[in-house]
Amino acid sequence: MTSNNLVDEGILASLMAMAAKAEADEVEIRLEYNETTQIDTLNDHVRHQTHVVDVGGNVRVFLQGIVGFVHFDGWDNIERHISEATLMAKWGQHASNSFHLGEIAPVRAFQRLEAKENPLAVSLEDKVAVLLRYAEIARYAHPLIRSVTGRYFDRYRHLWFANSHGSAIEQEKLDLGGNILVVARDRNGVAQRGVSFGSSNDFGVVRGLDDAVRDAAAAAVALLEAPEVEGGEYPVVVDPHLAGVFAHEAFGHLSEADGQVGDPGLLAEMYIGRHFGPANLHIYDTGMDLGSRGFLPLDDEGVPATDVDLIKDGVLVGRLHSRETAAHLGETPTGNARALHYRFPPIVRMRNTVIAPGDTSFADLFQGIDRGIYAKGSHGGQTNGELFTFLAGEAYLIENGQITRPLRNAVLTGNVFTTLAQITAVGSDFTRYEGGGGCGKAGQMPLPVSHHAPSLRIERCLVGGRNQ
């Protein structure tokens, strides 16, 4: 089904009328039509392919300091769902909490999808053919390549949102991505490396990855013989992909205000004006970068996107908000309330987290390093606020300022507060990295996000390893 035959002027008018007459302090109603295609290939054949249509919605009611939330399949009986959400809120009336939501002017908008190459117009056969061709390229790249798996998904969402304050929004969204995972195997074991891709408006990003797939095959083979990294503290140079993951894991999550409200200890540390890094460190979060997976012109509370500076000139200047957290801290909603699907309420999430480029050339990042680690790409990361871990896709030893040999199992960890202070150079090689993974929080995973960054040099980074 395409978007055009879903445009229905009556939907928003009906939702607004229902929201206006609900007996609650605030009511939001969301309806969704989701269409998802997923393809998994193994070597020369399709392993799984699915095409799923989800239709449903949710109602969120705020009543005397309690939230009642109901999600449902289909679009029947919306008024009954509003009553049920109100009942849920009344159920919870043990609490004495008062609440406020950040005020925003009512928004009336229709955000239509503007795709460069719309994946819904690409046949399933063509999508499969692209994945299988990459598998062929990788398998021919080296005799030790044992298997190649391809994963592709695209998800079209059409959303209708109305609240009792007069906002009425219709949005189309697109998310696509995937990866090619190359596995090499010899008598020593197995090693893997992948190529990842993603976009919010262009199937074209899936094409033209031939060289990247060949590089992944070569890296997987090289990793077979690589010794495990020696644990310890190193000066580390991270490539733009890993630097983006670092910004997301090490600082982005800490900036999400739902982790700060109600925590006097953390708020005492995360005060606006605190010094957090070198003077040329600039980290921001944006929903306005057309084409990135974090593109989000309106969030799931109907708040328009803003660019949110988090660290500017090495100083903490902002944080990420929903309407509730903004009101709690007396700040302005930033358009960061996001829900993965209609089964979930919106919570504070990142969109596209960006480290602005610095002025150090790539070669100069390695100057003066006698023994260090160059880390490229990422298998993901995690944080608990204070600590972070990220897994490098590839790692190389730096000796006397030169990259010398590959290492395996490089896991970079640290304390967020001290590690940001140990960034000593920000590269000029700014790169827009768009991968096919996603962010997980409170059971909502994988949420499409992006991170764009240059390379970074970090001193005294703690690297895990079994050889010491």
Binding site: I11, H51, M88, A95, S147, D263, T389, T413, V463
Partner: protein, 446 residues
């Protein structure tokens, strides 16, 4: 306005024509939850999902369709169309017993909601009392899933299972030191005891009041149940159908061979009374049972769905599950169980004069699941001096190879087992004890 309606048609309405091969599943999932978190508006939630899934096999190719609103006939047509370009499959259909679904009724009644709210508030109040700056978080949930299955062999069956879950914890932030604690308990029969849960959290909180410095090196370490699943993820990768079919598993020819320590017995068990996945059938309608995967270190069975079983020449054992209601069944264990041994936690902590206890391991996912290398920042690590916990260890990275840890380094298996909920990094519920692993590499910031 446009309305998408959930079709109330029943599985009995589904007709199979001669020669058709396929199956149909109707999955009803309801969840109720109460969430309380410091500084945030309390939330009471109810969600319902009604998913229909159809698999059709045409000329040896599998077609899959799922919907929340289509009729069975529409789904069947879509699955048949998808089969034309679908993957080759060796899957067959089990013979289902004919069983009426008339006894399947929801267990939910409103008094359960009141109980959830009361328990959530009681636990929250206990946690608030731990310290002035402690920020509590409590979530109480009840899930109920009704599964109905029918296939082209003509059978039909249905079952319901429900389970409770409580996740509780919180943190104190003092300067740049975050002292976080969290525990999850769940069970099918009754709501977990919140006082026991609070006592466990309080013990952990008290353990961590003091900071203990340690040097980098190798230590004996007790992995508490919440982090044991991190070690099992690579094991499951080697046991699972996709890795075997791709030729990536080093265990493909190791049946009946010793692959792990004789102290370790690992099973997929769908018969446990309290198990979230306990049911007479898996999600493909294959009868389930308790199957040893690793028996005293010897590889006994792989984790295979019907397609993987047939491709690899094994009899299906009922290990085909959906990770989400919309997904195709794939090779997953039912409830994953490590058989407990005799050592209490106190005995484990007394085995070595100086050792560590790990309960939180940030980012501890394998950089290469099939090889088993894992490293991550320890977010909840304690030092034990002659059997007594003497403080919390910070700024430490734990590095391990899961296969070596569960082979030559495994020193003892605990007696008390705990449920660990499925999460982002593991897709099966597990009931596991603490494991004592020797010579674990710890790198500490100087």
């Amino acid at each position: 306005m446009t309305v998408f309606t959930v079709d109330p048609g029943h599985l009995e309405d589904l007709q199979w024509r001669p020669g058709e091969i396929g199956d149909a599943a109707d999955l009803g999932h309801q969840v109720w939850s109460v969430e309380l978190k410091g500084g945030q508006t309390p939330m009471v939630q109810h969600g319902s999902e009604q998913v229909r899934a159809m698999r059709m096999i045409t000329a040896g190719r599998l077609g899959f369709a799922t919907s929340r609103t289509m009729s069975w006939q529409q789904l069947k047509e879509e699955a048949s169309r998808a089969a034309a370009s679908g993957p080759e499959t060796s899957m067959d259909e089990p013979v289902l017993e004919s069983r009426s679904n008339s006894f399947i009724r929801s267990q939910w009644d409103p008094s359960m909601g009141s109980l959830m709210i009361e328990r959530a508030h009681r636990l929250y109040a206990h946690l608030e009392g731990l310290a002035d700056n402690f920020r509590p978080a409590v979530s109480v949930t009840y899930h109920e899933i009704v599964t109905q299955l029918a296939n082209s062999n003509g059978g039909q069956t249905a079952w319901r299972h429900g389970y409770w879950g409580i996740t509780a914890g919180g943190r104190c932030v003092d300067g740049t030191d975050f002292h976080g604690i969290a525990e999850t308990q769940f069970g099918a029969s009754e709501i977990p005891n919140v006082d026991d849960l609070f006592n466990a959290l309080q013990d952990r909180f008290l353990w961590g009041q003091k900071i203990q410095r340690v040097m980098s090196g190798q230590y004996p370490m007790v992995f508490l149940p919440s982090v044991v699943m991190g070690l099992l993820t690579p094991v499951l990768a080697r046991l699972s159908g996709p890795a075997l079919i791709a030729g990536n598993s080093a265990w493909e020819d190791q049946s009946d061979q010793r692959v792990l320590s004789p102290l370790l017995t690992l099973a997929s068990d769908a018969t446990m009374p309290d198990g979230p996945r306990s049911a007479p059938f898996d999600d493909e309608g294959t009868p389930t049972d308790r199957w040893p995967l690793i028996d005293r270190g010897v590889l006994k069975h792989f984790v295979l769905d019907r397609d993987s079983s047939r491709r690899l020449g094994y009899e299906p054992l009922g290990m085909g599950y959906r990770a989400t209601p919309n997904a195709l069944p794939t090779s997953l264990p039912s409830n994953l169980v490590i058989e407990p041994n005799q050592a209490t936690l106190g005995e484990l902590l007394s085995r070595f004069p100086r050792m560590l206890v790990l309960n939180g391991w940030i980012g501890a996912r394998p950089t290469n699941p099939l090889r088993g290398d894992i490293a991550g920042n320890a977010s909840d690590l304690y030092f034990v001096d002659h059997g007594t916990v003497s403080g919390r260890v910070k700024n430490a990275v734990i590095s391990i190879n899961a296969f070596e840890a569960l082979s030559s380094q495994l020193a003892a298996v605990g007696e008390e087992t705990r449920w660990v909920a499925p999460g982002m990094m593991h897709t099966a519920p597990a009931k596991v004890p603490a494991l004592l692993i020797d010579s674990v590499d710890v790198t500490v910031r100087r």
